[in-house]
């Protein structure tokens, strides 16, 4: 342990950790809000709506997050006069906002697929049985399909959050001082590989916390289908 380096860069790395958590939390929540309409759009009987939703998911999942981040950050820079004209430049000027926007759009596509898969995985018999009880389609979705689908979506959603935590490190490339950004800075000053080790441990701790919370959530939410 190099305590000199730890003393100088430890607090800054923790500040970077907070930035990473903010990036991920905001993106995952906004992404979820966006993912629900996209998932429903994918399953829509309206051809146009389902095709647009499919094209979105296809394009976002088919390109690297790094490329998307560059596209938004430096792309927005090229359109400064247009963005200023509509009064949005102050938002796009901020690297943190550009990252949140990119990550939200990215995770929305993945989450949409998770929700769609989960909804389709609920056995058809469930909605048929509900239908025979005379429930309306809306009530069937809300009271029968959605709760069961949420359970199925839980694991893949945990996965997505973990991927986002690690993927958020690309923010460092566009000048955000997230955990990775601070680590790169500390390394460039000290040439001490330890800082990358600390960063790796901090990422690992975040992932481990998610893992435990998810285990607990799943255990609690599935208690009605567990056999004593």
């Amino acid at each position: 342990m190099n305590f000199e380096v730890l003393q100088e860069y430890g607090p800054r790395m923790l500040a970077g950790l907070v930035v990473t958590l903010e990036l991920v939390a905001i993106s995952i929540v906004c992404g979820a809000l966006l993912a629900v309409p996209i998932a429903l759009g994918r399953m829509s009987r309206n051809k146009l709506v389902s095709r647009i939703a499919f094209a979105y998911v296809y394009a976002v999942r088919g390109t690297p997050l790094l490329a998307q981040t560059f596209l938004v950050y430096y792309g927005a820079g090229q359109f400064r006069p247009e963005l200023q004209a509509v009064g949005l430049w102050w938002l796009f000027k901020d690297a943190f906002f550009c990252c949140v926007l990119t990550f939200t759009l990215n995770t929305a596509a993945y989450q949409a697929e998770i929700y769609r898969g989960a909804i389709l995985a609920v056995p058809r018999g469930q909605s048929e049985a509900a239908m025979s009880l005379g429930l309306t389609p809306r009530a069937i979705f809300r009271m029968v399909v959605a709760p069961q689908a949420m359970l199925l979506a839980l694991r893949p959603l945990g996965n997505e959050i973990i991927l986002m935590i690690k993927g958020s490190s690309v923010a460092a490339i566009v000048t955000v001082f997230d955990l990775m950004g601070v680590t790169r800075l500390a390394y460039s000053r000290t040439f001490d590989f330890q800082v990358y080790l600390w960063a790796a441990v901090l990422y690992l701790v975040m992932v481990e916390i998610i893992r435990r919370v998810w285990d607990h959530l799943e255990h609690r939410l599935t208690r009605h289908i567990r056999h004593a």
């Binding site: 430096y74 927005a76 820079g77 090229q78 400064r80 000027k93 690297a95 490339i173 000048t175 790169r184 800075l185 390394y187 460039s188 000053r189 000290t190 040439f191 590989f193």
Partner: protein
């Protein structure tokens, strides 16, 4: 008995010395390739620039066969230490921090640094007091970024992996001014994108010049390069290369 031991020790030392003296008939040189006019890829994807020409001239003097390896700036010292190449000719300024991990040849050039801002920005004074509230940018892991961190505390600093990205964000207005090697900055100002901007304030000399970096245990290579640099200066090769790029001398005694 003692004689035998001494003989064995001498023989051992001779072998050890032989193993120590590496063969430098082939030298691999690391550079960034994204820092015109010092090192960059031309339209034919060939490495060009002052660093490259100096390295080639040094190799000629050393009668060594040199190959070039392009490497991202942030990873260039670790790559040297990992043995991906033997010497760095990449406009690397000689600093105390770097000297802790690598050895430097004698410097082969020295240029001041300067601030560049948008035309009409109204910036004339570049002291920390005068620039208060401005967002400043530089390439990360450079002496320029280190200087900003030290001398502009409390400022919003934006650090980029390559110099090109610093330019992009100055042109788009995300940063108010960038801090860069002046010669490098002047080269960009000549381009179409650089038309937006101009040098502001006075020149700021930083560091002890630019040298070739080698691993700490390759002192022989370091000394050979230092000697070759003095030789190319003495025989006029250096001045010719200097004139090819810059109308003023960037030599440092």
């Amino acid at each position: 008995m003692l004689k035998k031991l001494a003989l064995a020790a001498a023989a051992f030392l001779a072998i050890a010395a032989q193993a120590e003296a590496k063969d430098w008939s082939k030298i691999r040189i690391g550079t960034e390739g994204a820092y015109p006019p010092f090192n960059f890829f031309d339209s034919d994807k060939q490495l060009q620039g002052f660093d490259i020409d100096i390295a080639k001239a040094v190799c000629d003097k050393l009668k060594a066969e040199c190959t070039f390896v392009a490497q991202d700036w942030d990873g260039i010292i670790p790559a040297l230490q990992a043995g991906k190449f033997d010497a760095i000719f990449a406009s690397m300024s000689i600093t105390d921090e770097r000297k802790k991990v690598v050895d430097f040849s004698r410097p082969y050039y020295n240029t001041p640094s300067a601030f560049i801002a948008a035309k009409g920005s109204g910036i004339t004074d570049v002291s920390a007091d005068a620039l208060k509230g401005k967002t400043l940018g530089a390439q990360s892991s450079t002496i320029q970024s280190g200087y900003l961190e030290q001398n502009y505390p409390g400022f919003e600093l934006k650090l980029y992996p390559t110099q090109d990205e610093v330019y992009l964000d100055l042109a788009s207005g995300r940063i108010d001014a960038l801090f860069v090697d002046k010669v490098v900055g002047l080269d960009w100002l000549k381009t179409t994108d650089g038309g937006c901007c101009e040098v502001v304030g006075k020149d700021i000399p930083l560091g002890g010049g630019v040298g070739a970096a080698v691993r700490k245990d390759d002192a022989d290579l370091r000394d050979a390069i230092s000697k070759a640099i003095l030789e190319i200066k003495a025989d006029g090769t250096y001045d010719k290369l200097n004139a090819k790029y810059f109308p003023f001398s960037i030599w440092i005694d």
